[in-house]
């Protein structure tokens, strides 16, 4: 009754014929630009892996081996007075994105501005003349010599002293806050990929009241268009520190290796595990013999070291430490806490520690 097929099949045929003729030609090879202008770097085509080959982030960035800790008499390179400022204190860690237009030659002017800023923030709504000492004295110092490579920017140390209004003339101003920005052995590829008007000092250590820390941070954010974030140390970093410090024992007595765990039981169980330094070293030496000429330490060695200690603990207490979180590692050389607090005990091994922390900070950089 309805026979519409001819009309349609004609149309169909017509098109089939066209299809037949075409061979698989190479499409026009005219290049197509993705953007006429890019708001930032393309995150797909990366100049280096730090500029994120997306999806590969976590795989690529974390190194699996590093050099053993080496002692160097740092005071030969750096002013001993400066070094004295860095050891002994407990420092809270943060990471900082690269600073724009930061110049080491302008430190005096920065000090003036920061002190005026702090006064203005403390007295909301009152204007403060820049360069007038009132209440706070800020000093910026360049700690020369701490940088390891040409790419590393020199460390900057900041100190805030408070000058009480009614203090006697003889009273020395009291140091209320200290902090420093540093970069030791930063990934050269990353540092080189930054335009020249940026200075990367990714690790920020502070000691002093939180309110002042926040003021300093917000001044930096306004002055150099950078951003701060807190830097927590994951257990992999802490494992590395435990192994690196233990490896130093023959050269420098580490006195003890203290590890502290938190186990997710009800109620939570805190385990403080103190190991005799000699025992710890012997375990380490059995995994990574000292006479090994190759100075690299592999992450596998570190894992073996930690699991050796965990096994030992299990034998005595029947507790699997691996089920918990490693919170703190400390030796006479220094200590590091999971929530991002460190202490430097011995200045001779400062470079190793700072290089590791710089690396952690760089891993946090937004891409």
């Amino acid at each position: 009754m309805f026979n519409l097929l001819p009309a349609f099949s004609l149309g169909v045929l017509l098109i089939v014929m066209e299809g037949r003729g075409s061979a698989v030609n190479t499409p026009a090879s005219r290049p197509v630009t993705r953007k006429s202008k890019s708001y930032g770097r393309s995150c797909v085509e990366a100049p280096s892996y730090f500029w994120q080959t997306p999806g590969h982030l976590t795989v690529l960035k974390v190194p699996t081996s590093r050099g053993a800790a080496k002692s160097q008499i740092i005071t030969n390179k750096v002013d001993p007075e400066h070094i004295a400022l860095l050891v002994k204190n407990e420092w809270k860690l943060s990471y900082v994105t690269p600073l724009h237009h930061f110049r080491h030659t302008q430190l005096k002017s920065y000090a003036k501005h920061l002190s005026a800023f702090i006064v203005a923030e403390k007295q909301q709504g009152v204007a403060v003349e820049v360069g007038l000492d009132a209440g706070f004295k800020v000093t910026f110092t360049a700690v020369l010599g701490l940088a390891e490579t040409d790419e590393d920017a020199e460390t900057v140390f900041i100190q805030i002293q408070s000058k009480p209004v009614f203090a006697a003339a003889a009273d020395a101003p009291k140091v209320v806050w200290r902090g420093w920005l540093t970069c030791v052995n930063g990934d050269p590829e990353y540092l080189r990929s930054l335009p020249p008007d940026f200075v990367s000092l990714p690790l920020f250590c502070t000691s002093g009241p939180e309110s002042l820390t926040n003021l300093v941070k917000s001044w930096f954010e306004r002055a150099f268009d950078c951003n701060f974030g807190s830097l927590a140390l994951n257990s992999s970093t802490l494992n590395w520190l435990a192994a690196l410090w233990t490896g130093c024992h023959p050269a420098c007595n580490i006195r003890y290796l203290k590890l502290s765990w938190s186990l997710p039981t009800e109620p939570p169980l805190d385990v403080l595990y103190t190991v005799n330094p000699q025992d710890a070293w012997e375990l380490w030496n059995s995994i990574h013999p000292q006479e090994n000429t190759d100075d690299r330490i592999d992450i596998k060695d570190v894992q073996a070291f930690m699991s050796g200690m965990e096994t030992h603990f299990f034998r005595h207490f029947k507790i699997h430490l691996s089920a918990g979180t490693l919170l703190k590692v400390s030796t006479a050389l220094g200590s590091a806490h999971h929530d991002g607090k460190i202490k430097i005990g011995n200045s001779d091994y400062i470079t190793t520690l700072l290089a590791l922390l710089t690396e952690c900070a760089l891993l946090k950089m937004p891409t």
């Binding site: 149309g11 098109i15 090879s29 994105t97 709504g125």
Partner: protein, 732 residues
């Protein structure tokens, strides 16, 4: 006494000039001129103004009836019509010189309502009287309040700016200080801010405490010279200046309403330089767009204009070559004016700063610390993402830090947190090589898609549709621009060949095809999902015609058949439209191919698939057939017999199709209202068939209409050389 001579000139003008021109004008105008002259002489206002302008110092004031009368006349006019500029000058001079006595000074000031503008020299002279220092304090205050009130009506402010120093000197007068600060605030430019002035203001601040007017002026100084002064405004500070216009407000606005078209005075004069109040709730608020501020870089010799000084798009255009980037690039997202400028910025460092800030904010909020009570922050997060979205849509381009954030975030997203924003951001993702798409985009999206509700599925398809439209639009723009100069900024652009672009598009379309067919199967051909899917294919089918991309991809069977057998008429109609557009695209491709040897090709498979779909559609809807000869799609007859439906092949023809069934019934009722038993078969006979078609098309089924017209030659068909016959002729 320029104003005075001016005035006399004005008054005597009619008498002098009118006479000289008498001979040349007609009688009528002569009469008019005379009338005018009389009126001029008789006008009590002119006379009074003349009298007041000639009022000498030392003339008796007390008991001077003429003075009293003149002031009264002028006052009446002032309040009703406003005063012309010359009279303003005269009266202000008379009042401030105190020639007419102290009481008259404030009396005159109070009715000094300008009709149009206030001449600048009147104010300058006023300030000079202020410097003489004879005026009582309340008169000084009144004068300053008056200046502030009429500030916007002052014709030109150059001379006022050049006596900035004189005005500034009054800042030490405690009573005058608030008004002087306000006036200075309105006059200050960067050249006026000097260290000694800053110091003076700070001295006063030390004496008077934190006064809003001082704070406001100092905040402006900070905008111009952040290297001299710093200040932070508390979140709840009273900022801005008080309005001092109470004395004149009513009269002034009445006069202005009457003289419409004249300059309007802005009743609220204070311009806000206040920074946005920072919330004290969060310890570190990384989710706020920072306020615009300038860097204190003291050695910057080039004095560019700061973005926060700009008030209008016009100002931006005039100064576009000379604008300083803000201290924090992120602050540019807070203002549309700044976004306009951002669109012109070519500085790589600037974009890097912006992306560092944006990437950091997103990372801190969504990736690193989602624990700290993120639930109560969603409104803040939502506002932030909306700001980004707004900026990206404004710039018609996504930021690279948003892009890389999304790749990371997709793998941890639960699919519900801020869904609309995240999906909108996703649709802004720029074109990328097909190689990355699977891993970065499709894998995480697929997992979310198949584990979420049908509404999420719809949103995903919608999002990918919008992404495809953006890619295609970008391509069609760049293709029409010809060859883009790639070398111009080769370090920041990614190059991709046309075939690479086609690969990416193909990959995206293929992925949506997969999502849609599986989704439709899982959701029992949910009508919303089907419609989102068809909306996507409406984009796909037109890629060649609309976006000049030589690529034609047919929908997979999992999409085509659910649409063909849909129970709602809208889906069926959309399918008809899509098939119609496919045909138009294929026909054009074929014609271009014939005309000139194009390098592109439409794959043979596309033609094949189109023909197969076309055949299926026509067979089932018109020919009541199911089997397609030579196709792999055949249904076992025994299987169909199991369903025990009498004539299964008729079930999806244009009358019995579930989507159109109700229309067929309605048509039947209209044709044969008296019939009790419905026999839809009778629609197929004779003229009723044509009527039924017309009836259907009148219901708004344009898609089906187009489909039938083009595929049957019924109506205007673009294809030539075919001998197709109208639908009706094939029926017998």
């Amino acid at each position: 006494m320029a104003g005075l001579s001016n005035l006399t000139g004005l008054v005597s003008e009619p008498s002098g000039e009118a006479e000289s021109s008498v001979s040349s004008v007609s009688n009528r105008s002569l009469r008019l001129a005379e009338k005018e002259k009389k009126k001029g002489e008789a006008d009590p206002f002119t006379a009074a103004a003349k009298y007041l302008s000639q009022f000498k110092a030392g003339t008796t004031v007390r008991g001077n009836d003429e003075l009293e009368r003149s002031i009264l006349v002028v006052e009446t006019v002032a309040v009703s019509k406003g005063l012309p500029p010359e009279v303003i000058t005269v009266l202000l001079d008379l009042a401030l010189s105190l020639n007419a006595g102290t009481p008259n000074c404030s009396r005159i000031l109070k009715f000094l309502i300008p009709a149009t503008v206030v001449p600048q020299e009147a104010i300058v002279k006023g300030v000079s009287w202020l410097c003489v220092g004879k005026m009582p304090m309340n008169a000084q205050v009144l004068f300053l309040r008056w200046v502030l009130t009429v500030f916007d009506l002052i014709d030109c402010k150059d001379d006022l700016r050049s006596i900035y120093g004189f005005i500034f000197s009054f800042v030490t007068e405690e009573t005058l200080c608030p008004f002087i600060c306000h006036l200075l605030y309105l006059l200050t430019t960067r050249e006026h801010v000097h260290p000694y002035r800053v110091r003076k203001l700070l001295d006063i601040q030390a004496k008077m405490g934190r006064q809003p007017f001082l704070t406001q002026l100092l905040a402006l100084y900070k905008v111009f010279r952040p290297d001299l002064v710093t200040l932070s405004l508390p979140s709840r500070a009273r900022t801005g200046f008080k309005n001092h216009n109470s004395t004149w407000k009513v009269a002034l606005s009445a006069v202005q309403r009457k003289n419409k078209g004249a300059v309007l005075v802005d009743q609220s004069l204070s311009v806000d330089v206040k920074e946005k109040p920072s919330s004290r709730k969060r310890k570190r608020h990384h989710l706020a767009v920072p306020p615009l501020s300038s860097a204190f870089d003291s050695n910057s010799s080039k004095k560019g204009l700061r973005l926060q000084e700009l008030r209008s798009f016009k100002e931006l255009l005039e100064n576009i070559h000379n604008i300083e980037l803000p201290a924090q690039m992120g602050s540019m997202l807070g203002s549309t004016l700044a976004l306009h400028y951002l669109d012109c910025v070519q500085d790589e460092s600037a974009f890097l700063r912006l992306n560092f800030w944006l990437g950091h904010s997103l990372q801190e909020e969504f990736l690193l610390c989602p624990v700290d009570g993120s639930s109560d922050n969603t409104s803040e997060a939502c506002r932030f993402l909306n700001t980004i979205l707004f900026s990206q849509q404004f710039l018609q381009e996504g930021f690279s830090s948003t892009e890389s954030f999304l790749y990371k975030f997709l793998s941890v997203w639960d699919g519900s947190l801020l869904r609309p924003q995240i999906l909108d951001l996703l649709s802004d993702i720029p074109l990328m090589p097909s190689f990355y798409m699977n891993k970065l985009l499709f894998e995480p999206l697929k997992q979310l898609y198949f584990t979420s509700t049908v509404f999420f599925k719809c949103s995903v398809i919608e999002c990918l549709n919008s992404m495809l439209v953006k890619w295609l639009t970008w391509h069609s723009v760049s293709a029409s621009e010809g060859s883009l100069d790639i070398s111009l900024n080769s370090n920041s652009t990614m190059t991709m060949t046309l075939s690479g672009f086609m690969d990416s598009v193909m990959e995206l379309v293929r992925f949506v095809g997969l999502l849609a067919s599986e989704g439709l199967r899982l959701e029992n051909c949910h009508v919303l999902l089907l419609n989102q899917t068809l909306a996507f294919y409406e984009t796909v089918c037109d890629m060649f015609l609309k976006y000049s991309l030589p690529l034609i991809i047919m929908p997979p069977a999992g999409v085509f058949y659910p649409a063909l057998f849909a129970i709602d008429s809208i889906s069926l109609d959309r399918l008809g439209y899509i098939m119609y557009r496919y045909r138009m695209n294929l026909t054009l491709a074929k014609q271009q191919k014939q005309q000139r040897e194009q390098t592109f090709h439409i794959s043979r498979n596309a033609y094949k698939e189109f023909n197969r779909n076309l055949q299926t559609m026509v067979n089932s809807m018109w020919n009541s057939q199911w089997c397609i000869p030579g196709s792999d799609l055949e249904i076992n007859k025994d299987l169909i017999a199991l369903s025990k439906i009498a004539e299964p092949w008729c079930c999806f023809d244009i009358i019995h199709h579930p989507a159109l069934f109700s229309y067929a019934i309605e048509f039947h009722q209209r044709c044969w209202p008296e019939r009790k038993d419905v026999d839809l078969g009778s629609i197929k006979t004779g003229k009723y068939w044509n009527w039924y078609m017309e009836f259907l098309f009148n219901q708004g089924f344009d898609g089906l209409n187009n489909f039938i017209r083009t595929n049957t030659g019924h109506g205007p068909s673009s294809s030539s050389q075919d001998d197709r016959q109208p639908l009706s002729q094939n029926c017998h």
